[in-house]
Symmetry: D3
Subunit: 134 residues, 6 copies
């Protein structure tokens, strides 16, 4: 299995509901340093996993729609705790949608899976990994 991975980041405010979150129930924030790993069984005709320029642009566009926001005010997350693991899934879905729409190039339809990792500090990260398309 081949992979390529690109790193970018976004910065948001949010709060959580539920006793399990302790002091994080208050409005606070985070920088998420995001690694998006694209996986593919065989290289495409150009000898690559995916066009890394387009992949980086796609990741940047997905993160730009979250960056500099208070996630508590986002209609898309109404009634949801925007935990690090949940945000990893959201980003996975949004990049998968771009791939399906051909925005990462025609060969990107051959990608097997995607792993999205969000580093929230030097001592904690979360990720979601799942298959692409069919």
């Amino acid at each position: 299995m081949f992979s390529i991975c690109v790193r970018d980041h976004f910065m948001i405010a949010h709060s959580f509901s539920g006793e399990v979150f302790g002091p994080a129930q208050k409005l606070h924030g985070a920088t998420y340093v995001v690694d998006v790993e694209f996986r593919r069984r065989e290289l495409d005709p150009d000898g690559i996993v995916v066009d890394i320029g387009r992949a980086g642009d796609g990741v940047r566009a997905v993160l730009a729609a979250l960056n500099f926001r208070n996630l508590d005010d986002e209609p898309a997350f109404r009634g949801k705790n925007t935990t690090t693991e949940f945000l990893a899934l959201v980003i996975h879905e949004r990049i998968a949608t771009k791939i399906a729409a051909g925005e990462l190039g025609a060969h990107a339809s051959g990608l097997a899976s995607l792993r999205v990792t969000l580093h929230e500090s030097h001592v904690a990260w979360a990720s979601y990994e799942g298959a692409l398309g069919r």
Copy 2:
């Protein structure tokens, strides 16, 4: 698959038996920077993989039982080479025991697997990854 990971560290002395270990047969030591990754197929009712506060406390407790020790003197490791990969397994088993005992919360019983990685320097690490019982 969802993951969350917490990082902590411990510092020990030890020596190894066997020619394959070369100069490491002498008493020396190491700092191990430890990443414990908790994996789960679906998020729990709170929208998380595991309570990260309890997970961090559990990891800290397991490492505290090793920290500032000479592992050559530990009865638990009599006759064993406490290599990095062996210690990854030991920490995996001890955290798995805490999960089974409910110390990481009731929902932690839904965790699928655990990966424990020990960084011994900027150029070497070892890990053990295994499923969690039922």
Copy 3:
């Protein structure tokens, strides 16, 4: 010159006033990974720069007073932009106060200076460095 440095972090929400801040004028947030470097010309009678246990506790206490907050609501920062460089200065002052009060041990009065660095992402950090005592 000798130094020791300890690393910790905190997570906050805030917004900025002024056109220069662009999209960061909206409520957003950040994880700050903080390095506090303590400097001293000669080692103290114990052969150290400062008691690293007390130093780490002092840093943790200073960061705990900021962690999981919306800095826009903090009376101490009324009318101020809580930029990364400004927060580095604030943390510098608060640790200096603890040192002057003897909370980092009697020998800590011999510290020469302090450098506080806040990493806000994998591509940006800010710091404040200044002398201690008189």
Copy 4:
């Protein structure tokens, strides 16, 4: 599954053919920081995954054959784009050959798989992972 990983690096010049590579079609270069992860289901009789000294020597030898080269001039890569993901595969094959030849020790025949990761900057990496021997 147990793993150990060793890190090393090499520095090369090269250029790419194909519009998808944009400005990278010109002669340029890269530092690749390489992580080679050796995987094994059970520890060997010495309680290790592989002799880390021999593993590091094997990786160093494989990278030395690429280091300080213009890859456009290497007969082995004639007609190939030496992309990061392609080079990960090349290094995987060359280390696998050394393992098969017994150069990493007799017990290395019990290794299950190998993952080779090449970090080309602080924001991009590629890897190839595949099974070993039979």
Copy 5:
């Protein structure tokens, strides 16, 4: 003293002249991960060291003029060894020129000094630090 630092990178080919460079006399290449630290005695009227958006754009522009090049072919470096420390000086001068020209904003004239660090691998870096204008 206050600092802010931004990180970016560029990828080049080059070779060196002189026996001291050993195998690096052959055409090879490097990724340089670049940290540019801007220093200032007092914060500017906006409470910042420099507009981090403009600073990042300035650094990107300076690195773009080097990126994806064979430095052996650059007229500006004729007869020079483009060592890591030399390139740190070149980048320092080019950013200083932009500051003097007002490209980093009017307040940037109050910057005291600049430190440019080029990481060429996980085990080596070089830097140049010098005062700015008058």
Copy 6:
């Protein structure tokens, strides 16, 4: 001021005397990841700070004399606490001696100062910085 820095590591056992060290009074150990920064006002006739090959060899030799030891048994450290900051000074002195003896090349006599940093974990480091003789 120009700098180049090389990174290496060593692994030791030791214990400390004095209540201030708490649990570290017991025999334990550490991995020290060491950064040695060589500083020079002007580049030498080869356009470099120091021959990085010789510098790396010098650092490796100094660390090899400490690596895989129990520092409590070293005559050189009798009656001393081998704290991280103390070891930074020791390594500084030993490299300075090599420079004075010409082992890093004839031009190395033009080096201005040396900073030695020992990372003992992901959250703590210590350093010693001092001028080089004449």
